[in-house]
Amino acid sequence: MTLENFIRMIIVAFGSYAVIVLVLRISGKRTLSKMNAFDFIVTVALGSVLANILVNHETLLWEGLFAFCLLVLLQYISTWLSVRSSAVRSLLKSEPSLIYYDDHYDNKKMKKERITEREVIQAIRKDGYISLDEIAAVILESDGTLTVMEKSKQKHLEQDDFFL
Protein backbone atom coordinates (compact mmCIF):
# COMPACT_ATOMS: atom_id res chain seq x y z
CA MET A 1 0.00 0.00 0.00
CA THR A 2 1.34 3.37 -0.94
CA LEU A 3 1.20 6.52 1.10
CA GLU A 4 -1.23 7.94 -1.43
CA ASN A 5 -3.69 5.13 -0.79
CA PHE A 6 -3.36 5.69 2.90
CA ILE A 7 -4.20 9.35 2.58
CA ARG A 8 -7.05 8.59 0.20
CA MET A 9 -8.57 6.28 2.78
CA ILE A 10 -8.38 8.88 5.52
CA ILE A 11 -10.05 11.51 3.36
CA VAL A 12 -12.70 9.11 2.08
CA ALA A 13 -13.42 7.84 5.60
CA PHE A 14 -13.79 11.36 7.01
CA GLY A 15 -15.80 12.58 4.04
CA SER A 16 -18.24 9.68 3.89
CA TYR A 17 -18.64 9.60 7.66
CA ALA A 18 -19.65 13.25 7.69
CA VAL A 19 -22.01 12.88 4.74
CA ILE A 20 -23.64 9.77 6.18
CA VAL A 21 -24.21 11.32 9.59
CA LEU A 22 -25.77 14.31 7.87
CA VAL A 23 -27.98 12.23 5.57
CA LEU A 24 -29.21 10.04 8.42
CA ARG A 25 -29.81 13.07 10.61
CA ILE A 26 -31.87 14.80 7.90
CA SER A 27 -33.90 11.71 7.06
CA GLY A 28 -34.95 11.32 10.69
CA LYS A 29 -34.94 8.67 13.36
CA ARG A 30 -37.39 6.48 11.50
CA THR A 31 -34.80 5.54 8.86
CA LEU A 32 -32.99 3.26 11.27
CA SER A 33 -35.86 2.08 13.42
CA LYS A 34 -36.56 -1.55 12.77
CA MET A 35 -40.31 -1.89 12.62
CA ASN A 36 -40.63 -4.63 10.07
CA ALA A 37 -38.58 -7.45 8.61
CA PHE A 38 -37.35 -5.27 5.82
CA ASP A 39 -35.95 -2.40 7.88
CA PHE A 40 -33.19 -4.50 9.35
CA ILE A 41 -32.00 -5.64 5.94
CA VAL A 42 -31.87 -2.05 4.73
CA THR A 43 -29.87 -1.01 7.80
CA VAL A 44 -27.31 -3.74 7.14
CA ALA A 45 -27.24 -2.83 3.44
CA LEU A 46 -26.45 0.77 4.41
CA GLY A 47 -23.56 -0.46 6.54
CA SER A 48 -22.36 -2.71 3.76
CA VAL A 49 -22.36 0.18 1.27
CA LEU A 50 -20.32 2.28 3.69
CA ALA A 51 -17.83 -0.54 4.24
CA ASN A 52 -17.54 -0.97 0.50
CA ILE A 53 -16.77 2.70 -0.01
CA LEU A 54 -13.96 2.45 2.53
CA VAL A 55 -12.41 -0.81 1.42
CA ASN A 56 -12.92 -1.02 -2.33
CA HIS A 57 -10.63 1.14 -4.37
CA GLU A 58 -12.68 0.54 -7.45
CA THR A 59 -15.82 1.88 -5.87
CA LEU A 60 -15.89 5.60 -6.39
CA LEU A 61 -16.75 7.72 -3.42
CA TRP A 62 -19.56 9.51 -5.22
CA GLU A 63 -21.06 6.34 -6.50
CA GLY A 64 -21.14 4.84 -3.03
CA LEU A 65 -22.59 7.92 -1.43
CA PHE A 66 -25.18 8.10 -4.18
CA ALA A 67 -26.25 4.49 -3.52
CA PHE A 68 -26.39 5.27 0.20
CA CYS A 69 -28.63 8.30 -0.33
CA LEU A 70 -30.88 6.36 -2.68
CA LEU A 71 -31.47 3.68 -0.06
CA VAL A 72 -32.30 6.31 2.55
CA LEU A 73 -34.61 7.99 0.05
CA LEU A 74 -36.41 4.72 -0.73
CA GLN A 75 -36.87 4.04 2.98
CA TYR A 76 -38.19 7.58 3.35
CA ILE A 77 -40.69 7.12 0.55
CA SER A 78 -41.96 3.77 1.79
CA THR A 79 -42.44 5.00 5.36
CA TRP A 80 -43.95 8.28 4.10
CA LEU A 81 -46.47 6.32 2.07
CA SER A 82 -47.28 3.84 4.82
CA VAL A 83 -48.29 6.49 7.34
CA ARG A 84 -50.59 8.02 4.74
CA SER A 85 -52.19 5.02 3.07
CA SER A 86 -53.45 1.90 4.77
CA ALA A 87 -53.23 -0.01 1.49
CA VAL A 88 -49.48 0.63 1.26
CA ARG A 89 -49.14 -0.16 4.95
CA SER A 90 -50.72 -3.58 4.66
CA LEU A 91 -48.64 -4.24 1.54
CA LEU A 92 -45.35 -3.41 3.26
CA LYS A 93 -46.04 -4.76 6.69
CA SER A 94 -47.54 -8.00 7.91
CA GLU A 95 -49.98 -8.10 10.81
CA PRO A 96 -48.74 -9.26 14.22
CA SER A 97 -50.02 -12.72 15.20
CA LEU A 98 -51.16 -13.95 18.57
CA ILE A 99 -49.46 -17.32 19.00
CA TYR A 100 -49.95 -18.03 22.69
CA TYR A 101 -52.99 -16.94 24.60
CA ASP A 102 -54.83 -18.08 27.70
CA ASP A 103 -52.47 -21.02 28.40
CA HIS A 104 -52.83 -22.36 24.87
CA TYR A 105 -50.52 -22.40 21.91
CA ASP A 106 -52.19 -21.57 18.64
CA ASN A 107 -50.67 -24.52 16.79
CA LYS A 108 -52.20 -23.63 13.48
CA LYS A 109 -50.71 -20.16 13.49
CA MET A 110 -47.38 -21.45 14.77
CA LYS A 111 -47.13 -23.90 11.90
CA LYS A 112 -48.08 -21.20 9.46
CA GLU A 113 -45.46 -18.83 10.86
CA ARG A 114 -42.93 -21.68 11.27
CA ILE A 115 -42.38 -21.16 14.99
CA THR A 116 -41.75 -23.97 17.43
CA GLU A 117 -42.90 -24.26 21.03
CA ARG A 118 -39.23 -24.27 22.08
CA GLU A 119 -38.79 -20.83 20.55
CA VAL A 120 -41.83 -19.44 22.31
CA ILE A 121 -40.61 -20.75 25.66
CA GLN A 122 -37.15 -19.36 24.95
CA ALA A 123 -38.64 -15.92 24.35
CA ILE A 124 -40.52 -16.17 27.64
CA ARG A 125 -37.33 -17.16 29.49
CA LYS A 126 -35.38 -14.34 27.90
CA ASP A 127 -37.85 -11.91 29.42
CA GLY A 128 -37.04 -13.43 32.81
CA TYR A 129 -40.25 -15.36 33.46
CA ILE A 130 -39.84 -18.60 35.30
CA SER A 131 -43.37 -19.81 34.95
CA LEU A 132 -45.81 -19.94 32.07
CA ASP A 133 -48.59 -19.18 34.52
CA GLU A 134 -47.49 -15.54 34.60
CA ILE A 135 -47.89 -15.12 30.86
CA ALA A 136 -51.06 -13.75 29.30
CA ALA A 137 -49.97 -13.85 25.66
CA VAL A 138 -47.06 -14.13 23.25
CA ILE A 139 -47.22 -12.19 20.01
CA LEU A 140 -45.10 -12.51 16.87
CA GLU A 141 -44.54 -8.92 15.79
CA SER A 142 -44.16 -7.79 12.21
CA ASP A 143 -40.43 -7.19 12.67
CA GLY A 144 -39.99 -10.84 13.62
CA THR A 145 -39.57 -10.41 17.36
CA LEU A 146 -41.63 -12.20 19.99
CA THR A 147 -43.39 -10.00 22.54
CA VAL A 148 -44.25 -11.58 25.88
CA MET A 149 -47.19 -10.06 27.75
CA GLU A 150 -47.56 -10.58 31.47
CA LYS A 151 -50.94 -11.34 33.03
CA SER A 152 -52.61 -8.33 34.56
CA LYS A 153 -53.62 -8.48 38.20
CA GLN A 154 -56.57 -6.18 37.71
CA LYS A 155 -58.40 -7.99 34.96
CA HIS A 156 -58.39 -10.96 32.69
CA LEU A 157 -56.92 -9.84 29.37
CA GLU A 158 -59.15 -10.44 26.38
CA GLN A 159 -57.78 -10.88 22.88
CA ASP A 160 -58.96 -7.39 22.01
CA ASP A 161 -56.68 -5.93 24.66
CA PHE A 162 -53.55 -6.51 22.60
CA PHE A 163 -54.30 -3.97 19.83
CA LEU A 164 -53.92 -6.61 17.15
Binding site: I41, S48, K111, R114
Partner: protein
Protein backbone atom coordinates in the same frame (compact mmCIF):
# COMPACT_ATOMS: atom_id res chain seq x y z
CA UNK B 1 -18.24 8.63 -13.44
CA UNK B 2 -20.85 9.42 -16.03
CA UNK B 3 -24.62 9.80 -15.97
CA UNK B 4 -24.93 6.25 -17.26
CA UNK B 5 -23.60 4.86 -14.02
CA UNK B 6 -25.80 7.13 -11.92
CA UNK B 7 -28.76 6.01 -13.98
CA UNK B 8 -27.80 2.38 -13.53
CA UNK B 9 -27.52 2.69 -9.75
CA UNK B 10 -30.89 4.44 -9.56
CA UNK B 11 -32.68 1.82 -11.64
CA UNK B 12 -30.99 -1.08 -9.86
CA UNK B 13 -31.76 0.38 -6.42
CA UNK B 14 -35.44 0.90 -7.12
CA UNK B 15 -35.81 -2.48 -8.68
CA UNK B 16 -33.92 -4.35 -5.92
CA UNK B 17 -35.74 -2.50 -3.21
CA UNK B 18 -39.09 -3.59 -4.61
CA UNK B 19 -38.07 -7.18 -5.27
CA UNK B 20 -36.51 -7.61 -1.83
CA UNK B 21 -39.49 -6.00 -0.14
CA UNK B 22 -41.74 -8.41 -1.97
CA UNK B 23 -39.81 -11.63 -1.32
CA UNK B 24 -39.32 -10.81 2.36
CA UNK B 25 -43.01 -10.07 2.76
CA UNK B 26 -43.76 -13.35 1.05
CA UNK B 27 -41.44 -15.37 3.28
CA UNK B 28 -43.15 -14.12 6.45
CA UNK B 29 -42.21 -12.57 9.76
CA UNK B 30 -40.35 -15.65 10.92
CA UNK B 31 -37.56 -15.22 8.38
CA UNK B 32 -35.93 -12.49 10.43
CA UNK B 33 -36.71 -13.82 13.88
CA UNK B 34 -33.34 -14.34 15.50
CA UNK B 35 -33.70 -17.45 17.57
CA UNK B 36 -30.25 -18.90 17.14
CA UNK B 37 -26.77 -17.67 16.29
CA UNK B 38 -27.25 -18.71 12.70
CA UNK B 39 -30.37 -16.63 12.07
CA UNK B 40 -28.46 -13.47 12.84
CA UNK B 41 -25.70 -14.30 10.37
CA UNK B 42 -28.26 -14.97 7.64
CA UNK B 43 -29.97 -11.64 8.27
CA UNK B 44 -26.65 -9.79 8.04
CA UNK B 45 -25.73 -11.73 4.89
CA UNK B 46 -29.02 -10.75 3.28
CA UNK B 47 -28.26 -7.09 3.96
CA UNK B 48 -24.70 -7.41 2.67
CA UNK B 49 -25.86 -9.07 -0.55
CA UNK B 50 -28.31 -6.20 -1.03
CA UNK B 51 -25.59 -3.59 -0.39
CA UNK B 52 -23.24 -5.36 -2.77
CA UNK B 53 -25.76 -5.44 -5.59
CA UNK B 54 -26.10 -1.68 -5.33
CA UNK B 55 -22.45 -0.82 -5.33
CA UNK B 56 -20.55 -3.42 -7.30
CA UNK B 57 -20.59 -2.76 -11.00
CA UNK B 58 -19.22 -6.22 -11.71
CA UNK B 59 -21.93 -8.00 -9.81
CA UNK B 60 -24.76 -8.91 -12.10
CA UNK B 61 -28.13 -7.87 -10.75
CA UNK B 62 -29.75 -11.24 -11.35
CA UNK B 63 -26.93 -13.06 -9.67
CA UNK B 64 -27.32 -10.96 -6.53
CA UNK B 65 -31.08 -11.35 -6.41
CA UNK B 66 -30.69 -15.07 -7.01
CA UNK B 67 -28.36 -15.42 -4.03
CA UNK B 68 -30.74 -13.35 -1.91
CA UNK B 69 -33.64 -15.62 -2.78
CA UNK B 70 -31.56 -18.74 -2.21
CA UNK B 71 -30.69 -17.62 1.33
CA UNK B 72 -34.36 -16.91 1.98
CA UNK B 73 -35.37 -20.32 0.67
CA UNK B 74 -32.86 -22.08 2.93
CA UNK B 75 -34.12 -20.12 5.92
CA UNK B 76 -37.69 -20.91 4.96
CA UNK B 77 -37.01 -24.61 4.59
CA UNK B 78 -35.11 -24.93 7.86
CA UNK B 79 -37.82 -23.16 9.86
CA UNK B 80 -40.59 -24.95 7.96
CA UNK B 81 -39.10 -28.34 8.72
CA UNK B 82 -38.30 -27.58 12.35
CA UNK B 83 -41.81 -26.36 13.07
CA UNK B 84 -43.17 -29.62 11.68
CA UNK B 85 -40.65 -32.21 12.80
CA UNK B 86 -39.19 -32.45 16.27
CA UNK B 87 -36.24 -34.37 14.84
CA UNK B 88 -35.27 -31.54 12.50
CA UNK B 89 -35.73 -29.00 15.23
CA UNK B 90 -33.24 -30.93 17.37
CA UNK B 91 -30.71 -31.27 14.57
CA UNK B 92 -30.81 -27.61 13.58
CA UNK B 93 -30.94 -26.09 17.02
CA UNK B 94 -28.81 -26.75 20.08
CA UNK B 95 -30.45 -27.14 23.45
CA UNK B 96 -30.24 -24.25 25.89
CA UNK B 97 -27.76 -24.94 28.72
CA UNK B 98 -28.34 -24.44 32.40
CA UNK B 99 -25.37 -22.51 33.82
CA UNK B 100 -26.62 -21.82 37.32
CA UNK B 101 -29.41 -23.31 39.33
CA UNK B 102 -30.44 -22.41 42.88
CA UNK B 103 -27.01 -21.46 44.20
CA UNK B 104 -25.00 -23.99 42.19
CA UNK B 105 -22.83 -23.10 39.21
CA UNK B 106 -22.52 -25.83 36.60
CA UNK B 107 -18.78 -25.47 36.12
CA UNK B 108 -18.48 -28.26 33.54
CA UNK B 109 -21.10 -26.68 31.35
CA UNK B 110 -19.61 -23.22 31.79
CA UNK B 111 -16.18 -24.50 30.73
CA UNK B 112 -17.66 -26.28 27.76
CA UNK B 113 -19.58 -23.21 26.63
CA UNK B 114 -16.63 -20.93 27.44
CA UNK B 115 -18.55 -18.71 29.84
CA UNK B 116 -16.67 -17.45 32.89
CA UNK B 117 -18.43 -16.87 36.19
CA UNK B 118 -17.96 -13.12 35.75
CA UNK B 119 -20.21 -13.17 32.68
CA UNK B 120 -22.94 -15.04 34.54
CA UNK B 121 -22.74 -12.43 37.29
CA UNK B 122 -22.81 -9.66 34.69
CA UNK B 123 -26.00 -11.08 33.18
CA UNK B 124 -27.54 -11.15 36.66
CA UNK B 125 -26.50 -7.53 37.29
CA UNK B 126 -27.90 -6.46 33.95
CA UNK B 127 -31.29 -7.71 35.13
CA UNK B 128 -30.94 -5.36 38.09
CA UNK B 129 -30.56 -8.15 40.61
CA UNK B 130 -28.07 -7.51 43.43
CA UNK B 131 -28.13 -10.87 45.17
CA UNK B 132 -27.31 -14.24 43.68
CA UNK B 133 -29.71 -15.78 46.21
CA UNK B 134 -32.62 -14.15 44.39
CA UNK B 135 -31.82 -16.01 41.17
CA UNK B 136 -33.46 -19.34 40.46
CA UNK B 137 -31.64 -20.17 37.24
CA UNK B 138 -29.33 -18.78 34.59
CA UNK B 139 -29.54 -20.23 31.09
CA UNK B 140 -27.42 -19.87 27.97
CA UNK B 141 -29.92 -19.66 25.13
CA UNK B 142 -29.44 -20.99 21.61
CA UNK B 143 -28.90 -17.50 20.19
CA UNK B 144 -26.04 -16.86 22.64
CA UNK B 145 -27.91 -14.63 25.07
CA UNK B 146 -28.03 -15.36 28.77
CA UNK B 147 -31.43 -15.54 30.46
CA UNK B 148 -31.73 -14.83 34.16
CA UNK B 149 -34.80 -16.19 35.92
CA UNK B 150 -35.44 -14.61 39.32
CA UNK B 151 -37.17 -16.53 42.11
CA UNK B 152 -40.80 -15.84 42.77
CA UNK B 153 -41.24 -14.59 46.36
CA UNK B 154 -37.88 -16.19 47.21
CA UNK B 155 -39.22 -19.63 46.41
CA UNK B 156 -38.32 -22.17 43.78
CA UNK B 157 -41.57 -23.22 42.21
CA UNK B 158 -43.53 -23.32 38.98
CA UNK B 159 -40.32 -23.65 36.98
CA UNK B 160 -42.15 -24.68 33.87
CA UNK B 161 -40.11 -22.60 31.48
CA UNK B 162 -37.05 -24.68 32.39
CA UNK B 163 -37.67 -27.27 29.72
CA UNK B 164 -35.86 -28.49 26.66
CA UNK B 165 -32.43 -28.33 28.38
CA UNK B 166 -29.50 -30.65 27.70
CA UNK B 167 -30.53 -34.16 28.66
CA UNK B 168 -28.15 -34.81 31.51
CA UNK B 169 -28.90 -31.37 32.87
CA UNK B 170 -32.57 -32.21 33.24
CA UNK B 171 -31.45 -35.00 35.53
CA UNK B 172 -29.07 -32.80 37.52
CA UNK B 173 -31.86 -30.32 38.09
CA UNK B 174 -34.19 -33.07 39.23
CA UNK B 175 -31.52 -34.38 41.61
CA UNK B 176 -31.29 -31.03 43.34
CA UNK B 177 -35.03 -30.81 43.65
Amino acid sequence: MNTGQFGRITVVSFFCYLVILFVLRLSGKRTLLKMNAFDFIITVSLGTVFGNILINQDEVLWEGLYIFCLLLIFQFLSSYLSSRSALFSRILKAHPSLLFYDGTYYEDKMKKERIPKSEVLQAIREQGIGKVEEVAAVILETDGTISVLPKKNNELRDLNTLVDLDENQENQKNDIE
